[in-house]
């Protein structure tokens, strides 16, 4: 069912029903753009002002908004959990956990060794020193590995970009050369066709010319014979 969408008709409302209402209602198209926030700012404000002063449009827009709100009740299917796609991410996460596990294991081992023979303060100090050393070592190792990984990533990125650009250029060149070859073939075909057409015209013209020549020759012979006959006839009369 298609309805009138010209200005002056606020969608489903009947403007005749309320004679006191304003007559210049925005079109339904504009209300749709307004509802979905696709209007320029100044026009958006104008429609908002109109809405505040026009009960007809306000009713219609409220009905549309209610329908839109109901639509939201049907939510989309829950997204599947996203998997980590980066090898580096997986590797670095694994490394961090491995480093933490190594630190905790060595701390536990040291605590166990010292627990039987030393005071709690000495154990705590020894564990703290050991943990601190282990953490520093792990941090240094992690930083070193990280730098190495980043450099590798950068190198592979440059290499892959270079390969990609080269490949794209090759694709472009092949596309252009294919296009050029196709153009040449088209021109050649057109020239051949033109040549054949000219040959046809030439042959036909030549045939017509020969026909005219033969006819002319025949006519000339006839005329010559008639002249001879006329001369003979004059001689007889004399």
């Amino acid at each position: 069912m298609q309805r009138d969408k010209t200005p002056g008709h606020p969608g489903d409302l009947d403007p005749v029903a309320d004679p006191t209402a304003c007559t210049q209602h925005p079109a339904r198209d504009e209300w749709m753009a307004w509802l979905y926030d696709e209007l320029p700012r100044n026009r958006h404000s104008e429609l908002k002002a109109h809405l505040a002063s026009c009960p007809q449009c306000a009713t219609q827009v409220a009905a549309w908004q209610a329908a839109m709100k109901e639509l939201d009740a049907w939510t989309a299917p829950a997204p599947a959990p996203r998997e980590a796609s980066s090898e580096v991410w997986r590797w670095s996460n694994g490394f961090k956990w491995a480093a933490a596990a190594a630190v905790m294991l060595s701390a536990g081992f040291l605590a166990g060794r010292l627990n039987s023979a030393a005071t709690p303060e000495a154990v705590r100090a020894a564990v703290a020193t050991n943990v601190s050393q282990q953490m520093q070592a792990a941090r240094a190792e992690l930083a070193s590995e990280l730098n190495h990984t980043l450099l590798n990533q950068l190198a592979s990125l440059n290499e892959s970009n270079r390969v990609e650009v080269t490949r794209l250029f090759a694709d472009l060149a092949s596309t252009i050369s294919e296009g050029r070859a196709a153009d040449q073939q088209n021109v050649l075909a057109a020239l051949k066709e033109l040549d054949a057409r000219w040959l046809g015209i030439y042959a036909s013209f030549r045939r017509e010319l020969e026909t005219v020549a033969i006819l002319t020759e025949t006519e000339l012979k006839d005329t010559q014979q008639q002249l001879v006959q006329m001369a003979n006839f004059n001689d007889i009369n004399k």
Binding site: M32, Y36, W74, S85, S92
Partner: protein
């Protein structure tokens, strides 16, 4: 904002196909049948296309098949992709045409889903066993039932809209396309898209009016009882 230099904070490595634009990936698929590029496109677009198919057909299982068909058709028609056009328009159009075909097929040979009243036929619910439903933050059972009823009413109302109206409404309201983009996908003027949207919303409002009124009445009736119970 600049991307973090820390590898584990970077969602997608820059050399991965997922770091490229859709058009670039599709160009790679077209020119060299690049499987990685196609996989990246699928990963990126699987959910929106599945959502579109579910909204159009109202059946999550059928939507699964349709979205797979859409990607199969995308690959089959990769040579007809024009790089000057937007990839999304190309893909939306393929998926919509498949939905139209499926709806016409269903119209010719209507099927009654086996699980019309079951969970599996509701696109708004996760298909896996949802452990979160058992947690204390989960909504109350009556709220879940009420939400399901509202969703079912909306789904049924959408199913009663004719295809042109439904397509515009789904693309704009659920998939978030601009009116201009919908006009490109459907190959119709933008004004027509907006008119169809207005008509679709009006029809939907009329279709949902009984359910809305009924719910309002129910709320009015149950309120005093709740107060007494407290």
């Amino acid at each position: 904002m600049a991307e973090s230099w820390l590898p584990w904070k970077r969602a997608v490595p820059p050399d991965h196909p997922a770091g490229c634009g859709d058009e670039q990936l599709m160009w790679r698929v077209r020119m060299s049948d690049d499987p990685q590029a196609f996989a990246a496109l699928m990963q990126r677009w699987e959910k929106p296309i599945h959502s579109l198919c579910a909204r159009m057909t109202g059946d999550v299982h059928r939507a699964q098949d349709l979205s797979q068909d859409a990607f199969a058709r995308l690959f089959a028609r990769r040579k007809s992709y024009e790089p000057s056009g937007r990839f999304s328009t190309f893909l939306w159009r393929i998926a919509l045409n498949l939905c139209y075909d499926e709806l016409r097929r269903l119209k010719r040979r209507p099927e009654l889903p086996l699980d019309t009243a079951g969970r599996a036929n509701r696109p708004d619910e996760p298909q896996d066993d949802d452990a979160g439903a058992l947690s204390s933050s989960a909504p109350a059972p009556d709220a879940i039932v009420a939400g399901e009823e509202r969703a079912a009413a909306v789904r049924a109302a959408l199913g009663q809209l004719s295809e042109p109206y439904r397509a515009v409404l789904v693309l704009r309201h659920y998939e978030g396309l601009k009116f201009r983009e919908i006009a490109d996908v459907l190959d119709i003027p933008e004004g027509t898209v907006k008119s169809r949207m207005a008509e679709a919303l009006s029809q939907l409002g009329r279709l949902l009016m009984p359910a809305l009124n009924e719910r309002e009445n129910l709320c009015n009736e149950t309120k005093p009882r709740v107060i007494l119970a407290i």
